[in-house]
């Protein structure tokens, strides 16, 4: 009986692991199978035309890039600033725990609620039109915890001797942070960036009502204030509303490639940081 139970559990474990990997293989395989053949130069470099009855996702690719730029430009200073405050300046334990609590809470909030609040706050209250700017600001809230956490971890790996050395030489605190601590923490900041960009690329629910559904090709400044769909939202539109699964699969392939690349780079850099910490 004991041996039997053991056998069941052992097989169960291996089966479970197999199923997990199998699911991944299936999802990726299915997407590649059904999507790669629809990735044409035309799809990637033109915009959808009703006159010519063609489909192009260039506007969506650009919109994704635009929103990454807007979000990162805003969230990096704030996030790094917050992490610096938490590790270098904060003396009051109470404030630190409040900020940590707030940051943790932000990670747990689902993206649809960010989208709702983003819509209320940025498009209704502040009067911004639906577009990349409103979408980007909404994503800033979502991505802030990631930047703060990663930067903070990286700042903590900078040896205190560096800080003490700089201060001993007469440097002010801000000067020390700027010249000694931050440059040595760049790896962690970079990881945070990459993880955030990964999250931004894959985000959809938060952008539906803040960045909109527009499929036209726009310049950067126009896209800020005009309804602009990113790749994920475009995938949703083409699949759900147009029923054009071929295009959706093609977009899925593009998204997967980007996500894969980002994940692998983030993992590589994290490993380098770990080695540096241990070595």
């Amino acid at each position: 009986m004991r041996k039997f139970k053991e056998f069941i559990l052992n097989t169960g474990m291996r089966l479970a692991a197999l199923i997990t990997c199998g699911l991944l293989a299936f999802i990726i395989g299915n997407i590649l199978l059904r999507g790669v053949r629809y990735i044409t130069p035309q799809l990637l470099t033109t915009q959808t035309s009703y006159l010519n009855d063609t489909i192009g996702i260039l506007p969506n690719i650009l919109n994704t890039i635009y929103i990454i730029i807007v979000t990162m430009i805003i969230v990096l200073p704030i996030g790094i600033g917050a992490a610096v405050y938490l590790t270098e300046y904060a003396s009051n334990r109470y404030i630190v725990s409040i900020i940590s609590f707030a940051t943790e809470t932000l990670t747990g909030i689902p993206s649809i609620l960010f989208g709702l609040v983003g819509m209320l706050f940025f498009t209704q209250l502040m009067g911004l039109k639906q577009g990349i700017l409103a979408g980007g600001l909404t994503l800033v809230m979502m991505v802030l915890p990631t930047i703060v956490a990663n930067t903070r971890e990286s700042l903590l790996t900078v040896p205190n001797s560096y800080r003490e050395g700089a201060l001993a030489l007469g440097s002010g605190k801000w000067h020390m942070i700027r010249t000694v601590v931050l440059p040595n923490a760049l790896d962690g900041i970079l990881t945070g960036c990459i993880l955030s960009i990964g999250r931004i690329t894959g985000e959809s629910a938060a952008l539906l009502f803040t960045a909109g559904f527009g499929l036209r090709l726009l310049s950067f400044f126009n896209a800020l204030q005009s309804s602009s769909a990113t790749l994920t939202v475009a995938l949703y539109i083409y699949a759900n509303e147009h029923g054009n699964f071929n295009v959706s699969y093609a977009i899925a392939v593009v998204l997967m490639l980007i996500t894969l690349l980002l994940n692998l780079s983030a993992a590589r850099i994290t490993r380098k940081i770990k080695d540096r910490r241990n070595g």
Binding site: L24, A25, G79, L116, P145, A205, A239
Partner: protein, 289 residues
């Protein structure tokens, strides 16, 4: 010279403080906004009628969200029932039994699963799972609660696996060695001792998975049918999240319908806060051991 450095220093300290408070500000803004926009409709409809009303028909001004609440609960429960055994078994394998090379591969698989955008899950579900369910169970439409549960299971799997794995790895070696010394096999040790020892971490992973499942919108809107019915396993259903997405784009400004959607957001927010609070409690209990 010293004065100048002093003011610059003070200035930057202030800036960093403001950055630090940014996160707090965000959370406050979100809470306040959801409260402000969610309360009017609840006031107008009546809290009991809103939360426990079984009919949601916006064109007839009936706004009971019981169907959505129950659907979200059943859907999440279903995903947990399927996902937890699968996840824990995989986690045990990863943490204890797998040779390092294989563990590496499985690790990467789990990370990649976590990184797949929800719309991609939705697309796969819509084009592969839904027709499959339709065929197998001979339904008129495969877009139902079951499909949503299956999709949610796959989506919460990575969370359960990675957090449980960390918890399992953190189990002190002495526990396991003692068990082995008393004559238990490796497998018995893992399942009887290690899991028990890591249980707060495992519970934390489940709660995290629950949070993720309750908040998911895009993946399930493509596979669950979206009619505001009371939940039934093969029926077309709407979750709290998909209810918001389905009607938001055409709800008129200032209308009761729109406000009711915000109220759904508020209810969802409260659910999430509850779940987060639970998570905190369990983690703290675990670390105080």
């Amino acid at each position: 010279m010293k004065n100048h450095k002093g003011t610059v220093e003070y200035f930057f300290r202030l800036i960093f403080l403001i950055c630090g408070i940014a996160a707090v500000f965000c959370v406050l803004a979100i809470s306040v906004y959801l409260l402000i926009s969610g309360i009017p409709a609840i006031r107008e409809i009546g809290l009991k009628d809103f939360l426990f009303g079984p009919v949601w028909k916006s064109e007839r001004n009936q706004f009971g969200i019981l169907p959505f609440i129950l659907t979200s609960i059943y859907g999440t429960a279903g995903a947990v029932i399927l996902g937890v055994p699968l996840g824990i078994l995989t986690a045990v394998f990863l943490a204890k039994a797998a040779p390092p090379r294989i563990a590496e591969i499985i690790h990467t698989c789990v990370e990649l699963l976590a990184g797949i955008p929800s719309v991609v899950y939705g697309l796969t579900g819509m084009t592969v799972l839904v027709p499959f369910i339709q065929k197998i169970f001979n339904l008129s439409s495969g877009a139902c609660l079951l499909s949503a549960i299956l999709v949610l299971t796959v989506m919460i799997l990575p969370y359960i696996i990675s957090v449980s794995e960390t918890a399992l790895r953190a189990v002190p070696k002495e526990y396991e060695e003692a068990s082995l010394a008393l004559g238990a096999t490796k497998t018995e040790t893992w399942f009887k001792i290690s899991i028990r020892a890591a249980r707060s971490g495992i519970i934390a992973s489940i709660i995290q998975g629950v949070g993720r499942a309750i908040g998911e919108a895009m993946a399930i809107i493509m596979v669950s049918g979206n009619v505001a019915n009371m939940p039934s396993i093969f029926g077309s259903v709407r979750f709290l999240t998909t209810a918001i997405v389905s009607e938001m784009s055409y709800a008129a400004y200032g209308s009761l319908q729109r406000n009711a959607l915000f109220s759904i957001g508020l209810v969802l927010f409260l659910f999430i806060m509850l779940i987060n609070g639970l998570l905190r409690l369990v983690s703290e209990r675990g670390s105080n051991k």
